[in-house]
Structures are given as C-alpha cells and as structure tokens.
Amino acid sequence: MSSAAQVPDPAQMQRARTAIAQARAAFPLWAATDPRARRKGLLALADALRADAPRFQTLAAPEAGAETAADLRRAVEILEAAAGACTLPEGSIAPMDAAGRIQMQLVQPRGVCLGIVPAVAPISHTVRAFAFAIALGNTVVILPFEGSRDVHGLIGQCVERTGLPPGVVGVVPAAPGEGTQLAAALIAATPVRHVSFAGPQPAARLVGRLAGENLKPMLLELQGRSVLIVLDDADLEATADAVLAAPDAALGPVIVQAAVAEALAANIAARGGDAGALWLLKVPGDGAALAAALDGAPAPGCAIFSRDLGRALWLAEGVGAANCTINRLPLPDGGPAASDGRFCGASGLAEFTERRRIGIDAPLWPHQP
C-alpha cells in the first residue's frame, strides 16, 4: 500500500458508488439467467479478448511483448474454464433423518463480489477476479489497487462489446494512490458480499482488516517471492536454467543441499548468471530443507528440484506453499486455469457461492408402502 495514500476526489467516489449500485441492480437477473447464457457470455468474452490481442500488445511496453501474450493467453484459459463451471454448482441432500425428513443445502451465488487486483499480469489477474464469480451468477466490481491502467479500460470495452448485461462486471478506475481509500469505501458498501484480493502483503493486511471489520468473507492471495529447494539429486543444469529464467521479483531464497551448492553456483555462473546475487541457504538434508522453507516468511510458491519424484512429493506436501511445483518454477505459467489458486476450479465454486440450508418437515421416504 502506498504511504502517500490520497483521498480520492468526490467524483471518483461517486463512480465507485455507481459501480456498486449497478452491480447490485444487475445481480438478481444475472443470478437467475440460464447458465447456458452465462456460459455463452464467458466464451464470447474470451473471443473478444483474443481478437483484441494487438491492442493489448500496443498498451504494453515493447520489451514486455511475450509477457503480455502469456498474460492474455492465461486470461482466455481462465474464461474458458469458467464457462465450463456455469452448469456445475450443485448442492447436496443429506441422508434422511429418523423421521424421513430431508434437509438440503442449496448452492447460491453470493451477490456482489469485489475483486481487488494487482498491477502485475493485469489481464489474467483482472479476469480471474471475476470469471468464476460471474459464471456462478454473482456480479463483480473490480478495483485495480495500484492504480488503473489503460489495460483495465480495454478489458472493460471487451466486456461491453460482448454484450454482458451492464453491471455484471464493472471496473472502478483508480488513480495511483487512491486504492486504499476506494478499497475502504467499497469493502464497507452494504451490497458487497465477498472480497477477493491478490497482491503484496502490506496491502493484503489492510484489505483483510477492512473485510474483517465489515464481516465480509474474503479470499486473500498474497503475492511474494517463491522458494526454491534444490535437492542433492537435482538436474543442476535444468535447475540453473530455471533460476535464471525466474523474474528477480519472484525469486526468494534458494535452499540448496550443501553437497551440490557449489556445483549449482558453477552451473549458474557458466550460464552468465551471478550466483552471488542469489539468496542461497545451504542445508544438510531433506529435513533441514523443509525446516528452512517453513522457517522463512510464508511463500506463495515453492519449486522443488529433484530427480526423485517420491522425495520431491513428500517435501511438496510439507512446505505449505499454496502452489508447489516439481522441477519447474511455479510462476508465471502456473498450470491449467482450473487449478489457479482459490479463484478457479473446485475452490472457485466454493469461494463464489454460499450454501443455504433448507429443511422440509415432512416424511419423504422412498419405497414405503
């Protein structure tokens, strides 16, 4: 969060309130919309984003062309996965009680969801914050926490062009530094029933505190540096390649088993890298590697390098990172869209719905004479 948080100008606050009001107004109809129509809307949006690839590219810095392409590809994957989820949500009927009564749990959309998105990978992060939510019948307001950019405007245009009803996805434009004030106002707004956030830890704390104060269910995805664990049987050449390919901002400590620490450094140097610039932690064995990973700050991602899949799997279960990969970096490619954190897939289904109990007080046994 920026320390120089500005108070947004009144017109900006008004726009935020309008976005919430539109999302609130759109919700009942969107929730009742045939899932097939929602599915069609999501697929149309995926097509619109794909068609606009050249414009997304012109908004990005020339050296970030490949990154933008990957960001856009991921956004499209997420939309397609979300389209497949529209017809999925199913509640449950509990086994009958002694009186033959049934009790069911209906799965319903929550209402207006607020998605607070970071500046990195803006296309996929923005799309991820609303894709499964609207697939399941919610409406969404997006707040770019670190200031909105042209790319958010372009996503908004794609949404409009797709013909999704007004208010289903709204973007509140924010000037740099305004995020804090706008977040506070939006989180407190009565119609907002769920808050999601992806970004760095200080801002996450703020969002978590505000959501807690307002008793809003929240999904916080803390972004930070990934931990690398290099075991003594790792393919050191492939590991060195992965270390050098990792963006500086994404790479945290490299926990390496002492027996291969020098050889890893040599492999990095041989590729023109500077092993001295890395945060290397030498450990004696698997247990010590696990302890070192658990001792450090909670890492969102962890990559384990080892030729022994069994060994790597045991460690992966233990490290506690939300996203763990074996013999490759956890980010940025992440894996299939449906497995993207808690925003998508089965977790997304649970996150963006709520369960309501309905009991019927009548004996409803089957097969009774």
């Binding site: 009742a32 509640g91 449950s92 009927i93 086994p95 069911m104 030729r307 097969h367």
Partner: protein, 495 residues
C-alpha cells in the same frame, strides 16, 4: 478358461458331496478330506423364498435412517474380533487357509464394514435451483441385491458383497460358495448379532454344487432382484452378465486377472522380489489380483530371479493345522494337478524352474519359472496357483506390450526408483488398478477396486461403489405449474 471353482461348476475331486436325503450338504477339508462343514442344501424354491423375504424386509430396512444403518455396520465391525477363532477354524477347514490369510480376511472385512458405515453419510443426493424450479437428485436404495461371492477370500469378498448394499438401504441375498458355505453363513450371523436387521434383510443361500446354475438363474430372473454383484471367474461372470442382461438387471462384476508386475532396470530388486513373492504366493496364488506375469528387464533379470527364487525356496506348502507353512493346500487336488500340468507345459516349451515344482496331493510349494514366453499355457491363462512366471524383455515398450497382451485387466504393478518414469509406465497398463513400488495385491475398501476388459466392470469400494448400490432419481419441483400450450397454435413456446 476353466476356473478351479467358480461357484457354478462342481468342484473337482473329493472336496464335497451333496447330501440330498438329509437336506444337507457337506464340504470336505481340502487338506485331509475330513468334514469341514455341514450346511443346508437349499434348492430353487428356498432361494426364491429368500428373495421374497428380502423384498418384504426392504421397506423396513430402507426406512431406517442412515444413522441406524451405520450403527449396525459399526457394531458388526466391532464383533469381528470375537468371531476370530471361529473364522480361523472355518477358513482352515473349508479352504485350507493359512494364519496369515485368516488375519488378512479379518482385517480387510472389518475395514469393509467400517467403510460401508461411513458411506451412509454420503447417501443423500444433489440439488440445484434454476429458472425452471428445484432440481433434486436423490440417491435411493434399489431393492433386493443379489450377491454372489467366491470362496478364495471368503470373509472379505462375502462381506464386501453385502456391506455396502446394506449400508445403502437395500436388502441382500448372498448366494454362498459351495466351497466355503459355513464361512458365508457366518457373515449372516455377525450382521444379525449386530442387531436391528429386519427378518429376511440378509438371506444366505447355501446349496449343493450341482444346483448352482439352476439357483443363480432363478435368483437373477426373480422380479424383486434389482442388482447383481458377482466376484469370481470370467467364465461364470460371463454367464451371470448374460443372465443379468437378459433380465435387464445392472450388474457389477469383478472377475479373473492376469496382473502384470513390471521390474524396470532401476528397480529396488530386493523390494521387488519381496512384493512379487507376496503377490504370487499369498493364499497359494488363489487371488484375482495375484501377480501373474512378472516382466523383467533383461539387464536385471538374473539378479531379480535369484532373489525371488531364494525367497520362494523357503515357502513350503503344508497342512495349516500343523503350522509353520507359508502356503496351505490348493482348494482341491484337481486344482493342484492343473498347476502341475501348467508348470510341466511351460518346462516342455523352454521355461526354467528356479524353485518348487513338485506336487504332493493338494500341496504345491512356491514355484518360480523363468523365461516364460507366449505359447505356454501359463503365459496366457490365469494361473490361480503359487507360480511366479518371469518373462524377460529387452525394452520398456516390449514390457508394456506383454503387460497388455491379455484379455484381462484387473491389477498391475511397476517397480522402479525413478518414480515419474514408473508412473508413466503404470499409466500405460490397461487395467483397473496399478501400483507403483507396491504389490499387485492391494485391497482397500475406500478405493475403487475393479477391472477392465475380461476382468469385468463396475467398482467395489470408494464412493464409486455408491453407484452400484443406489439408484439416482431426478425429481424436480416446477417453479410454478408449467403450461406447455401443447396443441394450441398460438403458444408452442412452452414445449
């Protein structure tokens, strides 16, 4: 292939005789020919009466809340220890089981009951609200289930044939195997003692061997029987499936197997030999998931074969009553004879005997055959005996080819230190189950157990098993009485 004994054909040799006059059937001990058990020799009339009783019990039992059904199954699980001495005595007497095999049966049968008890929490259904109304899917009990269980793992396979069916609110008729009728009757006693089963909710039909086909035919044809589950040979499974098909009854079949066991170049050979010995020789190989075809990369074949032969030489067959033997008698002397013939056929065609090989009456010591190749009886047929058959291969592609060169597809195993690689091989084996660095014999009530191809279809175990014993029924409530406008030219839109 002619199965040793599959419930429909009379067992060979001296293992049993109908005792029609007294209305009893006597099962003889395969080890010494003494009387193992004496049970009622029911006929078709009694079998039909058992189904009728189960049908009458169905409303009462299916009307129990899940918690009550759960309690019966949990109590039954708790009773098993008390029955252990009797179970051990009967398993030894009826099928020649070793102490290890008895322990395995007690443990896994207990877990079947506990897992079935847990499944009662999952028998409800799903519900969805949409523009048309409330769409409910109920998982309802189906009615009377017919269970046909084999003799080889009498307590485990008998219990799993009835436990989940009862958990789901069905009533059950268990057609006992003529080789272990008292063991199958004991399943009924355990569940009855657990309490609250209404009269007829679990019927057990014992019979003389010559009536088997007639009784099975009548049971499957009975209108009240809604599902059939069968564990046994592929030969009889096909007959059961045909009968079930004719009467449009859904059936679950777990049939024969020819489980491949692949040893890759980088395998831990000691662990592989240990698992292969367990898989090939436990219960004299009379297990559907037994390790039936050991496929070893040539580079490690000598070292692996030596280790396996060394283990096998210590595995001798003898009377389980005397103790000290790893293997008991085969279920009948005829079956032992068949094993001897298969080994002789392989040797005549070039295989080498590294351990065992001779037969003493119903007893066959653990056999290790090396250089088994296509064309030998033992290469193609389900062995169902204590024979470890090693096929040597030059490449992994050849290994997978041989693993899949069978009409069976039940279990399998792959041994290799590079787990990612071994997993890749396991995924290419065409079977219902495959285990990496673990034996082919792995029975877990909480996992889906079953096969593909001639090993059958459907799954015992896991939540997948719920489908086998419940009917999913879609019941919806329209948001408002729905008018279709049918027949009125101005409003066809409602249809």
């Amino acid at each position: 292939m002619q199965h040793p004994d599959d419930g429909l054909c009379p067992p060979a040799g001296r293992t049993g005789s109908p005792d029609g006059e007294s209305g009893y059937y006597t099962r003889l001990n395969p080890a010494d020919g003494t009387v193992a058990s004496r049970v009622p020799a029911h006929g078709v009339k009694a079998a039909v009466a058992a189904v009728n009783a189960a049908a009458r019990a169905f409303p009462g039992w299916s009307g129990q809340p899940a918690a009550a059904r759960r309690a019966v199954l949990d109590r039954a699980a708790g009773l098993i220890d008390g029955y252990a001495p009797e179970i051990a005595r009967l398993m030894r007497a009826e099928i020649g089981a070793t102490d290890d095999w008895v322990r395995f049966n007690l443990d896994i049968a207990r877990r079947h009951l506990e897992t079935a008890a847990d499944l009662t929490e999952h028998i409800g259904g799903g519900v969805r609200r949409d523009a048309e109304g409330l769409q409910m899917c109920f998982r309802d009990p189906v009615g009377v289930c017919l269970a046909i269980a084999p003799w080889n793992a009498p307590f485990v396979l008998g219990m799993r044939a009835v436990a989940t069916a009862l958990a789901c609110g069905n009533t059950v008729v268990l057609k006992a195997s003529e080789n272990c009728p008292a063991m199958h009757m004991l399943i009924g006693r355990v569940l009855a003692e657990a309490g609250f089963l209404p009269e007829g909710a679990l019927g057990i039909v014992t019979h003389a061997p010559d009536l088997s086909e007639e009784i099975v035919t009548a049971l499957i044809a009975h209108d009240a029987v809604r599902r059939v589950n069968f564990t046994g040979s592929t030969r009889v499974g096909r007959i059961v499936a045909e009968l079930a098909g004719r009467h449009l009854k859904r059936c679950l079949l777990e049939l024969g197997g020819k489980a491949p066991f692949i040893v890759l170049e980088d395998a831990d050979l000691d662990a592989a030999a240990d698992a292969a010995a367990f898989g090939s020789f436990f219960n004299q190989g009379q297990i559907c998931m037994a390790t039936d075809r050991i496929i070893v990369m040539e580079q490690v074949a000598d070292a692996f074969a030596q280790r396996l032969a060394a283990l096998a030489r210590n595995l001798r067959a003898g009377d389980p009553m005397l103790g000290g033997y790893a293997l008991g008698p085969m279920v009948s002397e005829g079956v032992a004879q068949r094993i001897e013939d298969m080994v002789a056929d392989a040797v005549a065609k070039g295989a080498m005997v590294l351990a065992g090989g001779a037969r003493r009456g119903p007893y066959v010591d653990a056999v290790v055959l090396d250089r088994v190749e296509p064309g030998m009886m033992i290469y193609a047929e389900e062995c169902f005996g204590p024979v470890a058959a090693i096929c040597r291969v030059q490449s992994e592609a050849e290994a997978i080819g041989i693993a899949n060169d069978t009409r069976y597809g039940l279990s399998g195993a792959v041994f290799g230190r590079d787990i990612a690689h071994a997993l890749g091989v396991a995924r290419r084996i065409d079977s219902g189950m495959c285990h990496v660095n673990a034996p082919t014999l792995n029975d877990r009530p909480d996992m889906p157990v079953g096969g593909v191809k001639d090993s059958g279809f459907g799954r015992f175990g896991g939540v997948q098993m719920l489908d086998e014993f419940t009917e999913t029924r879609w019941i919806d409530i329209a948001r408002a009485p729905r008018r279709t406008g049918f027949g009125r030219p101005d409003s066809g839109a409602g249809i």
